[in-house]
Amino acid sequence: MQVLYFAWLRERVGAAAEEVDPGDAATARDLVERLIARDDRYAAAFCDLAAVRVAVDQEMGDLDSPIDGAREVAFFPPVTGG
């Protein structure tokens, strides 16, 4: 599964995208926990989950969105365009 990071999440993780084996992660939140267990960089990126937004296959979702079968999961802060 392709996992993408944007803005300060990208900076803290130190990567814009990476291939991740989701294992038995059923939701975006499960995936976050799996990542945090892997490395401190993820703990820093995901320290405030209230400030984390999620898209699954380029559709806005949230931490409880199912990721089963998803090709692409993205994590980013609240958007600030316009």
Partner: protein, 153 residues
């Protein structure tokens, strides 16, 4: 084509001409242009970088455009959003709406901007020559989007 996400600047007059060309049933055209402000709540800035999510950005803007067209009788609609490095005074975003009457054109343009501000995956980073910081989302933008009802922000 309703939506463009691009590094290049845009030409408002040319976009309006394209949008209204050949349609003599348009009575009202509204444009909104967003510009980079030099002064921010945290002090003056000298540059801004706009990051976005290629692919999803276009999809989100097309979805917002489709919602506006369902809600209002629009003869035309256009969204252009820039990304990449920008400076104070630079144009960031253009929204155009064309309709028979002014109320639909005004409301649709406001709706597009409110939804774009809360649903389109863009992130601003402001710099003052030394430090650079990510811009925080504003509660007022969430509230503005909420007034249109629907599935929330």
């Amino acid at each position: 084509m309703h939506v463009s996400v691009q590094r290049e600047d845009f030409d408002i007059a040319a976009e309006i001409s394209t949008l209204t060309a050949g349609d003599r049933d348009i009575g009202a055209v509204v444009s909104f242009t967003g510009l980079v402000r030099e002064m921010t709540p945290k002090g003056p800035i000298s540059e801004m970088a706009l990051e976005h999510y290629p692919g999803m950005t276009e999809r989100a803007l097309e979805e917002i455009a489709a919602q506006a067209q369902q809600r209002w009788p629009l003869q035309g609609l256009r969204i252009i959003h820039r990304h990449g490095p920008l400076a104070p005074g630079d144009r960031i975003v253009l929204v155009l709406t064309a309709s028979r009457h002014r109320q639909a054109a005004f409301e649709a343009a406001e709706f597009l901007m409110d939804y774009l501000k809360t649903k389109a995956p863009f992130w601003k980073k402001e710099g003052d020559g030394g430090k650079a910081r990510w811009v925080d989302a504003r509660d007022s933008d969430d509230n503005a989007a909420r007034r249109w009802g629907g599935e929330g922000t």
